[in-house]
């Protein structure tokens, strides 16, 4: 992996203006941590905001202080599909997150203790409203594009609905216009795993100087499972065992068990993901249903959007299957919106949106090139020279 961007130092925006949340609660003040890559041009027309997925954060490209590459480093950088030689790319950690933006792990100014379970539940709309403050702070009147996968894709949709004139393009990847009963059910199982962990302490685990590791790991195992495809797991693990002899006990027998346990463990320990943040993010996903304010009519919901759309789905994604993207595309077509849709062949299930893939990269490159040509004003000198040549 090449990391041309080098080490990136995140920045923090302190917002003193109170934010009224969808729930009615008010955050008196809050921080948003974010990273940027590339340079904002003179007309501030090349800004791109990346919205992260459930367990993602603001570190999307380059290296962090621990030399860890960003979660989408393959797609962002000089000469990459989202080319930082042309774009000013921004990614912020969502409100309620646990990587630097105000959330359950930060101090509640009113009590002097960490928020923990008292941090109010936030929604996609709240995220968009808070990110809009970041937009103003950066001096960007209109994003050249909003880009997001999975939960990030839903956030992009919310942006396009709530602030139609603040974005030129919306790239919605592996997303859905709302969660299905099955999606919500998976989230609920994950939440139960966390909340029934004896170390959860009704969310006040930090005060008890502990972490509900088991619950978090189980939640992650379940989540992770839904991001993979059956075919891909079959190809990767099959029924391969750890030992040749059957053990006839409840220890790890099959490699797939070992893999899942590792993923869960990693998430709960080394990644240091906060359990309350996990609960909150899944809840925000469950609540996401922009059409509920428009008679449950998605076409009506998207009627006010003015952005041009690129919608991408992956063939083996069953968490947010291509059919869910079709719903978005259909609603956009109903409004005669400029939209392109691609169904990328991949064996990697929902996870495919994070991974390298020739078709996916080609698409991205082509679409981003189009945005570059829109934001690059024609140089009058070149035009004159051409005339002289003739």
């Amino acid at each position: 992996m090449t990391i041309e961007l080098g080490v990136i130092t995140p920045q923090t925006l302190h917002i003193e203006q109170p934010l009224t949340l969808s729930s009615g609660s008010i955050l008196p003040r809050y921080d948003l941590i974010y990273e940027t890559y590339g340079q904002l041009n003179a007309s501030a027309s090349n800004g791109i905001l990346i919205c992260h997925a459930l367990s993602g954060d603001h570190h999307v490209a380059g290296l962090d202080a621990n030399n860890k590459p960003g979660w989408w480093n393959d797609y962002i950088g000089p000469g990459k599909p989202i080319d930082t030689d042309h774009f000013f790319v921004v990614c912020s950690n969502n409100l309620g997150g646990c990587h630097g933006s105000t959330g359950p792990t930060t101090l509640n100014p009113e009590t002097g203790k960490v928020y923990g379970p008292d941090f109010p539940i936030v929604t996609c709309r709240d995220w968009v409203n808070s990110q809009n403050e970041l937009r103003k702070h950066l001096g960007i009147n209109q994003w050249a594009a909003l880009i997001g996968g999975s939960m990030g894709g839903m956030q992009v949709l919310q942006w396009a609905i709530d602030y139609p004139d603040k974005l030129q393009h919306a790239i919605v990847i592996a997303a859905a216009p709302k969660l299905s009963a099955q999606n919500i059910a998976f989230n609920e199982v994950a939440r139960r795993a966390i909340m029934t962990d004896p170390d959860f302490h009704e969310g006040r685990f930090l005060e008890h100087k502990t972490v509900p590791k088991q619950g978090l790991a189980q939640a992650r195992m379940l989540g992770h499972l839904t991001y993979l495809s059956d075919d891909m797991m079959g190809a990767k693990f099959g029924r391969e065992r750890r030992k040749d002899e059957l053990q006839y006990n409840y220890e790890v027998e099959f490699q797939v068990e070992s893999y899942l346990r590792y993923q869960g463990e990693k998430f709960a320990t080394t990644q240091n993901f906060d359990a309350n943040t996990y609960l909150l993010m899944t809840k925000a996903l469950d609540y996401f249903d922009p059409a509920s304010e428009f008679d449950h009519d998605l076409s009506k919901t998207l009627a006010q959007t003015t952005a041009k759309f690129l919608v991408i789905a992956f063939t083996t994604d069953w968490r947010f299957a291509p059919a869910r993207s079709h719903e978005i595309v259909k609603a956009l077509l109903d409004n005669d919106t400029d939209v392109s849709y691609a169904e990328v062949e991949s064996e990697h299930g929902h996870d495919a949106f994070l991974l390298r893939n020739e078709h996916y990269e080609g698409l991205f490159r082509a679409y981003m090139q189009r945005i570059i040509s829109e934001i690059t004003p024609l140089d009058p000198l070149i035009f004159l020279n051409q005339k002289v040549d003739k």
Partner: protein, 204 residues
């Protein structure tokens, strides 16, 4: 302006400026782009091939990746969404041309369709005298690897139109070089190699 194929040029002659167009199996989007640049049309392309899709997106076109056999036209588009639904050289490759035709007529006021004529004398001669499935410049495949699974003659197509209450508004019959000759206007189903049809639902 980019070079366009003679077939696309003939199709363009049938398009009213500023109309709304859907191009099925749009490939790299050459026709759609030409129609947008020259006639100010708006609309979408549909294409299954990933690589061609990227080429169409590079041109700045709206393209929906979709399989013509998946019967999703009426899911995506409402009745009479387009002035023209165009499909070039694809009728013979789809699994149910008759059903696709119905779907196209549901979402478009007129449809423009082109396909090769299996009734051309060379095809007939090869079958009659050699006893083999025909192989020609327009139909260069073997019987076993051809994507053309539903070949028809002009007469067959017109019979289908008759059966389905579809009115043929215009027809252009040309040779492989997309030129018109006197012979073809006298005996199109013998001498024509490619046909362009503009059809619509019969008004009751």
């Amino acid at each position: 302006m980019s070079q366009i194929t003679p077939e696309f040029k003939l199709i363009s002659e049938w398009i009213k400026p500023n109309s709304r167009v859907l191009d099925l199996g749009c490939g790299d989007g050459q026709l759609l782009q030409h129609l947008i640049d020259t006639y100010g049309v708006t609309g979408y392309g549909m294409e299954i091939d990933s690589f061609k899709n990227i080429q169409a997106i590079e041109k700045g076109l709206n393209v929906i990746q979709s399989d013509l056999n998946s019967h999703d036209l009426c899911d995506y588009f409402d009745k009479d969404s387009f002035d023209y639904v165009i499909m070039t050289q694809a009728l013979q490759v789809v699994s149910r041309p008759d059903e696709l035709l119905e779907d196209m007529l549901a979402i478009g006021k007129q449809i423009i369709i082109t396909f090769p004529n299996f009734g051309h004398w060379r095809n007939r001669a090869q079958l009659l005298f050699k006893g083999h499935m025909p192989k020609t410049d327009t139909l260069p495949y073997h019987w076993y690897d051809t994507p053309n699974i539903h070949m028809c003659t002009f007469n067959d197509f017109e019979a289908l139109c008759e059966e389905k209450d579809i009115e043929v508004v215009a027809r252009t019959v040309v040779n492989a070089e997309h030129r018109r000759t006197l012979g073809m206007s006298i005996a199109p189903n013998w001498l024509g190699e490619v046909a362009l049809y503009k059809v619509q639902r019969k008004t009751p």
